[in-house]
């Protein structure tokens, strides 16, 4: 039996004149956590919607769990659990009512449904919130309800669109632990879209997307190892004046990420020493690290990933990762 859970071949999609996806090819293996990483407008959400059967397939082929999406989207829907970027739970209903309503829509009969709801509420530590109105829950709890809802019918594939949108770091970590637990316990294939590096790094396999195309793919480690050298990040009180000095010193162009200047250098330790001995008094902090996924993106596209997302968001993420 094939190990491939989702395969997409030459998939293209456009909204009127605007091309959102161009000749996308990818394969998702069963039981993995698979990430679609790209900035806003890279086409990852369009691909997600095609997988979720919410958009008609215009060109190419998609097969999910061995079923052709064009011929039998209804059978595919039975295999999918979908969690959207914007919440799809009813804020006026209680947690249990939401799950009950959703389970009935998925054709589950009442008795097994009720025990499945209790099981999931237990799994996601929501048992004491069973009768709470969803609109009164915190963002993190609401996300957990979404996740429980997506898993009610024991789907083979869990699709998540930007799953940690609006979550604080603690809730985000907790949410991720739950996703990985589910994947390990039930062997669920998880496919998610994200623009957060930290989130992407936890995936087993990544597809980097830009302007509707797949630009690179592999495990995060393979992708990072595909770039030589190190990354040197420097924070200064007077970045505007220091930038040209450092650029000529290191013989490489700087790029801004938040309030830092980043340089890709062949030997990070030597570059750091050189910078500190020459203009160390003007440096607030300096850090040497292996190339990030963002560097991979820059290498392939020639553009910074953060050009399209809020710099503060990226900065906050990297700071959270450091802390």
């Amino acid at each position: 039996m094939s190990d491939i859970c989702i395969s997409a071949a030459s998939v293209s999609h456009s909204y009127g004149e605007t091309a959102a996806l161009t000749a996308v090819d990818l394969e998702v293996h069963k039981g993995t956590v698979f990430g679609l990483l790209g900035p806003n407008g890279s086409g990852k959400t369009t691909l997600f919607r095609l997988f979720a059967t919410l958009l008609p397939l215009q060109a190419g082929n998609i097969s999910i769990c061995g079923i052709d999406l064009k011929n039998d989207p209804a059978s595919i829907r039975r295999k999918l659990g979908v969690t959207f970027q914007s919440p799809a739970v009813d804020p006026r209903l209680t947690v249990a009512e939401n799950l009950l309503c959703h389970g009935r829509i998925y054709g589950l009969s009442r008795k097994p449904l009720i025990s499945r709801i209790d099981e999931l509420l237990e799994q996601f530590s929501l048992s004491d919130r069973k009768k709470s109105i969803v609109g009164e829950l915190s963002g993190g709890l609401r996300r957990r309800v979404e996740l429980a809802k997506g898993l009610l019918h024991r789907p083979e594939v869990l699709l998540l669109d930007e799953p940690s949108t609006g979550l604080d770091p603690a809730a985000r970590r907790q949410f991720w632990d739950m996703i990985h637990e589910q994947q390990q316990k039930e062997g669920t294939t998880v496919v998610l879209t994200t623009h957060l590096m930290q989130e992407a790094e936890t995936c087993a396999h990544l597809v980097l997307m830009d302007k509707g195309r797949v630009i690179s793919q592999g495990s995060p480690q393979t992708l990072q190892a595909s770039i030589d050298g190190d990354r040197l990040s420097i924070r200064s009180r007077d970045p505007v004046e220091l930038r040209p000095v450092l650029e000529s010193l290191l013989q490489v162009k700087a790029r801004n990420v938040g309030n830092r200047m980043c340089f890709r250098v062949p030997d990070g330790a030597a570059a750091l020493q050189h910078v500190m001995s020459t203009c160390g008094d003007r440096v607030l902090s300096a850090e040497v690290a292996c190339p990030s996924l963002e560097d991979v993106f820059l290498e392939v596209t020639g553009r910074g990933f953060a050009d399209d997302v809020l710099p503060d968001d990226v900065l906050q993420d990297s700071e959270e990762a450091a802390s």
């Binding site: 039975r78 999918l80 914007s86 009813d90 209903l93 009512e97 009950l100 829509i105 589950l108 499945r116």
Partner: protein
């Protein structure tokens, strides 16, 4: 525990959506008050205010006592309650889309017609409960002086028939509301359609005035499908004893037109939801 797409599970899914409508409705007390309170206030105020200038239509000549305006207006108010409930139920489609709930249903392994079935079922149950309550409680207002004594007779069989006919009117109006709301992105747009289309439709259905004053007006009344809903309900409230006139069609015609309009609006709704639309996903 596999999901299936049997007709039984379609109904179960539709009922789940309708059940959600009921919970949402009863959890918002202002909606309950709005849907039944406003028509009752209209009935009492217009009934008292316009009573003096009202000329009973021809079909009322055979009644034992002269027909007061408030009594004439009574079935019209029941239909207004159905219309308001249908509007409020279907306007929530726009909220469902905005809040994201709709995309969850669209990704489920059920035909999209379930969305129509769920909304129409939920809207109909709510409308029939409220309009039925008004038909039962309305005549009692005469005891506190807020209405004249009504001549309507609600024996068990006509009462059951009236309830069944109310279901038909509710299906027709909820489906109509649905097909207006479905393509819309904002509730403001729906309010505009409500003011220029749905309210005039009710006003020109013989619910508010007999409409025999001019040729063009009586033609509009005759072409309005809701006229047959109001007339049918009026007939059932008088146990089918009223004569057939230009402004009061016969019962078979009323049932025929109302059923036909319900079927057509439901079919259009199913057709509409089956078309993939990008604005359904957020």
């Amino acid at each position: 525990m596999n999901a299936s797409s049997q007709p039984g599970s379609m109904w179960s899914a539709a009922w789940a959506l309708a059940w959600r409508e009921l919970i949402r409705f009863f959890r918002q007390r202002t909606r309950v008050i709005g849907a039944i309170g406003q028509p009752v206030i209209f009935w009492v105020l217009f009934g008292a205010g316009l009573g003096g200038s009202f000329q009973p239509p021809k079909w009322a000549a055979g009644l034992s006592q002269p027909l007061t305006y408030q009594e004439y207006f009574f079935p019209g108010v029941a239909v207004l309650i159905v219309m308001f409930t249908a509007i409020f139920s279907t306007i929530s489609i726009i909220e469902d889309r905005r809040e994201g709930f709709l995309q969850g249903v669209l990704a489920a392994p059920v035909p999209r017609s379930v969305i129509v079935m769920g909304k129409v079922l939920g809207g109909t149950v709510l409308a029939v409960i409220q309009a039925g309550l008004f038909l039962l409680v309305g005549p009692l207002l005469s005891y506190v002086g807020l209405s004249p004594a009504l001549q309507i007779t609600l024996d068990p069989v006509p009462a059951i028939l009236a309830a069944l006919f109310l279901i038909l009117i509710a299906v027709e109006l909820t489906a109509l509301g649905f097909l207006i709301a479905w393509p819309m992105n904002s509730t403001q747009g729906f309010h505009a359609i409500m003011s220029i289309f749905l309210m005039p439709m009710w006003l020109l259905s013989g619910a508010f005035f007999p409409g025999g004053g001019s040729d063009w007006l009586s033609w509009i009344v005759r072409l309005n499908p809701l006229t047959y809903g109001v007339a049918g309900l009026r007939r059932l409230l008088y146990s089918g004893t009223l004569p057939v006139t230009d402004s009061l069609p016969s019962m078979p015609v009323c049932v025929g037109v109302t059923v036909a309009f319900s079927v057509v609006t439901c079919l259009i709704c199913v057709k509409l939801v089956s078309r993939p639309m990008t604005h359904n996903v957020t």
